[in-house]
């Protein structure tokens, strides 16, 4: 048998007699001293030729749950090598404490056998797919119910709670004007600069008006506006309704016999449907002005020349196709925001999760539907 190089450290002293190792634990056994005991246990596990280990706890005055972990460590290390273990010097309270922790540990092991926490990657993929399927089905259901109820209420619009409408319209529409105008102007400016460089090469400066006018009114104006509204109002609806759900306000409304669709969803959806086209027109004007500024600054365009060309290039169908799309975008943004809000369950974390989902899926829907519009408009030659 090999003799240990050192006979003690700050935390334990030990002596070897024949094949028996006697340990005396000297310091508090707590989560704060765990590292030192771990190291000591590690070095002792290297010792060979032992048949019995006697651990003396009589000098230990302070201990906590780590005691159970340490005993477990010693048991495991010795058990593996067939070494018998004997614990001595434990006070009655220490023994009682250890017994209660060991009972808990046993309960843990039993439960671990019953409830497997391990989940394979395949399970995760499966779960994700199922969740996506359920999510889509729920949204289609929600969407269908909303459209159905809107159609039902067309002849009796007084049944919708219009009290919220001006407030939501102001928040989603009027309050968003400055940011929509600013973003629209900057987009016009950027597109103008990018286009001007190319057009100048062909001496086609004047066609900047065509490029700006058509791209802004047909695509960029409605799209950028919708993305901004999704970030502002879609998120706001999800957070607002989600918080109402968490604080049981939705349950209270339901228990009072209110129809959530009529009371909460419709005023928001209708207000945003009305606000987004107006915002889109603001964005269109700002974008064109941004493009005009580029034309005036980088190309030899005149104000009159630009507007004359714009008048020829822009048709009503360009503007109205954009406005029509923006109505649909508004509907989708508000519907998704409300839908996500009503999906919230639990607490604050869930509100955050579904608010993010409202924005992400709202933007996805906008772009997806925009692609469908592009295809349909092309087929219909609009």
């Amino acid at each position: 048998m090999s003799t240990p190089a050192a006979a003690s450290n700050d935390y334990l002293s030990y002596s070897v007699e024949d094949t028996q190792l006697s340990l005396v634990l000297l310091k508090p056994i707590t989560v704060y001293t765990a590292g030192a005991y771990d190291e000591a246990a590690q070095s002792l596990s290297q010792m060979e030729g032992l048949t019995l280990l006697v651990a003396d706890f009589s000098k230990v005055r302070e201990y906590d749950s780590y005691l159970a972990v340490l005993v477990d460590l010693i048991d495991a290390a010795c058990g593996k090598r067939g070494i018998q273990v004997e614990y001595i010097g434990m006070s009655e309270s220490m023994e009682r404490f250890l017994a209660s922790l060991k009972a808990a540990d046993q309960a843990r092991n039993d439960a671990a056998a019953d409830v497997s926490a391990w989940r394979s990657s395949l399970e995760h993929i499966g779960e994700f797919t199922l969740r996506l399927g359920r999510d889509t089905r729920d949204f289609v259901e929600f969407f269908g119910e909303l459209v159905y109820k809107l159609l039902l209420l067309l002849p009796r619009p007084g049944l919708i709670r219009w009290k919220d409408f001006p407030f939501v319209f102001t928040r989603a529409g009027v309050d968003a004007v400055p940011i929509v105008v600013l973003i629209g102007f900057l987009i016009g400016l950027i597109i103008g600069y990018q286009g001007a460089v190319q057009l100048k090469q062909f001496g086609a400066d004047i066609y900047l008006a065509d490029m700006i006018g058509v791209s802004i009114t047909r695509e960029l104006g409605p799209l950028m506006t919708a993305i901004i509204v999704a970030g502002r109002s879609g998120a706001a609806f999800a957070a607002e309704i989600g918080t109402m759900k968490v604080s049981e306000e939705i349950d209270a409304l339901k228990s009072l016999g209110f129809d959530i669709m009529r009371f909460l969803v419709m005023p928001r959806v209708l207000a945003v449907m009305l606000a987004v086209p107006f915002l889109t027109l603001f964005a269109d004007v700002a974008g064109i002005l941004g493009g005009l500024l580029t034309g005036l600054m980088t190309l030899d365009l005149t104000l009159t020349g630009f507007f004359n060309q714009l008048q020829q290039a822009l048709t009503y169908s360009h503007v109205f196709s954009g406005v029509l799309k923006s109505v649909v975008f508004g509907f989708l943004i508000a519907t998704m925001g409300c839908f996500r809000g009503l999906q919230v369950f639990g607490g604050a974390e869930s509100v955050g999760k579904y608010t993010t989902a409202a924005v992400v899926s709202g933007i996805f829907l906008i772009i997806f539907v925009d692609a469908i519009f592009a295809f349909v408009f092309q087929v219909l030659d609009i």
Partner: protein, 255 residues
Amino acid sequence: MPDSPIIQVRNLTIQYGSLVVLRDVSFDVYKGEIFVILGGSGCGKSTLMKAIIGLVKPSAGSIIIDGADFTSVRGSERQAVLRKFGVLFQSGGLFASMTLAENVALPLETYTSLNNDRIMQLVDIKLASVGLSGYQNFLPSEISGGMRKRAGLARAMALDPHILGFDEPSAGLDPITSAALDQLIIRLNETLQTTMLVVTHELDSIFAIAHRIIMLDREVKGIIAEGDPRELKEHSTDRRVLNFFNRVVETSEEA
């Protein structure tokens, strides 16, 4: 008395602005006892608990925890005193974005140098000791209110504090779950020898768990009774104490 005082509250006054909530309150809590602070609504019992655990700064007086004056210590000394406490808040106070295991592991990861395996072993022991084996990977939103409280208790016990505080542990629980939580408090007190400081006005809980109580009164802004609740119920000469323990409502004419 079970042992020497672990908490000594001396001449404590707490006020919010000009509103005095507690005035000149003094009492001791002894090591290993279950000490209940009780009283009617608005008497300042939760405020007193918050002052003891350092969440409310008293206007005057001192709170001595294990020999250190908590009202004057700063920096690392204050941290050391704070680590002697574990608190179970009314709603459990679990972090909603973390699983139960992550919630319980958080103090261990923050304050100890244990490796992940050891931490998870301790987390499992803590969750098992409150009867939540197998719920490691559940989020707080996926379990019941009673389970959330038990998980909150497991987190409060993560660092094996010397003192465990409970703010209205029975609030929002059905009588069976509430009684089970009382049994858990008693069992943990007996096995771990932890001092328990409980704020409640649930009489069933008080008689089930309390070794000693203090009763606060809103009018007096202080203590009107101290001692064994069973003895106080039978022998107190204070009408307010007897009314409280016997659930007597005095009409204004009687008063």
